[in-house]
Subunit: 230 residues, 2 copies
């Protein structure tokens, strides 16, 4: 199995929140994949997938892209250790996915965008600046001008997961599910490129992130990035 | 089974989003309860529950309060037609509950707060004004001063459910679950007291609300309130 995985300047600094979902899901299923470092501008290398974004997975000659489609593919391939415990859990995880992407990714990006920019491979910098400045409607510097406010926003927005994590160890209950990997993605995205402290140690979400870093033999903790200070 | 259910000036105008969750869940389970009209200031009438808020359910001499606890109680009593398809679905529904209560209730309240105030029983008005003005940190009139902005905010905030409803008829998938009743609560809250048009007919959430109004023999549609214009 091969997974094209977004890398920064260094081949082993992997930061995509969408790729992290997939790597955690692969480990959850007990599957191994060769991860191939890829940059935003390497679109020719994944042209076979018919689109230009990672993650792209190839398994036994079959190509699957989009992190949600990959999760569905892995669930069908290995039904044991489900990512989704059933159709209702999957529907609610899909709602959760959109909420995370449209609500939480933004303040995390604001808190560390210049660290991310500086960590990028040189060949990706112009693409990243141009595409993100167009999306945000302002310069990267303006977008990332107030990390303190971004972090305060993030901590407020995390309330729905925090209230769940007071009751159970994972967003998905007693065991992690794909919803946990979805939420973990942007934390690992930041951790890969930025020393910014996203969470306070007395936050239940901090303790959850520690559990996530420890899962699957410490897969995420061992990955190149900044330590998480307690 | 008896359910203490928040009423406006008229006994049959029932508006609590938390009580609506429970009434929909009872119908989902095929259960019937006698609903008892109750006002905010009738705390003595539910003093037996050890607290002062509805919904309060009494079944075979057992008292249960808090809408989530009632859902758990009903699920244990009637395991068929589950509200939660499993532990993971329940955990994700709990995250969804906090999100709805802390994110969506607010703009809906802003859009219709004076209609709600005007619909209240006279004996509840002083309590409502005082408690809500303290909570919001401003007068009801100030809180509800810009319903257009509140509705625009609401429609933006609904994106995570809208993306799910493009794919499947319910938040919970092919069948409604407790998460649907949680989201439906504040729409039925508004519908009971306000002619305010919360959703545009071309919105997938509008079509979902129509389906919710039709469920269980049109239970919610038959309830006293304003029509939903297409």
């Amino acid at each position: 199995m091969q997974l094209w995985d977004l890398a920064a300047a260094e081949d082993d600094r992997r930061f995509s929140p969408y790729c992290w979902r997939v790597k955690m899901a692969l480990a959850h299923k007990g599957l191994q994949a060769q991860t191939i470092p890829w940059r935003f501008t390497d679109t020719d290398k994944i042209a076979f997938s018919g689109q230009g974004l990672v993650p792209v997975l190839v398994d036994e000659g079959r190509e699957v892209h989009d992190s949600w489609a990959i999760a569905e593919y892995l669930e069908a391939k290995v039904p044991a250790r489900p990512l989704f415990e059933g159709a209702q859990a999957k529907a609610l995880a899909f709602v959760f996915k959109t909420w995370v992407e449209t609500t939480l990714h933004l303040p995390i990006m604001r808190a560390m965008v210049m660290d991310l920019f500086n960590a990028l491979h040189e060949k990706d910098k112009a693409y990243f600046r141009e595409s993100r400045e167009k999306r945000f409607g302002m310069s990267l510097e303006q977008f990332g001008a107030d990390p303190k406010k971004a972090l305060a926003d993030l901590r407020t927005l995390l309330l729905p997961v925090r209230k769940q994590l007071v009751q159970e160890p994972f967003v998905s209950g007693k065991q992690p599910g794909f919803a946990d990997y979805i939420l973990f993605g942007p934390f690992q995205w930041a951790r890969a490129v930025s020393p910014q402290r996203l969470l306070e140690p007395d936050d239940q979400v901090f303790a959850w992130r520690e559990r996530m870093l420890d899962l699957h033999g410490g897969l995420a903790r061992k990955a190149k990035g900044y330590p998480v200070w307690a």
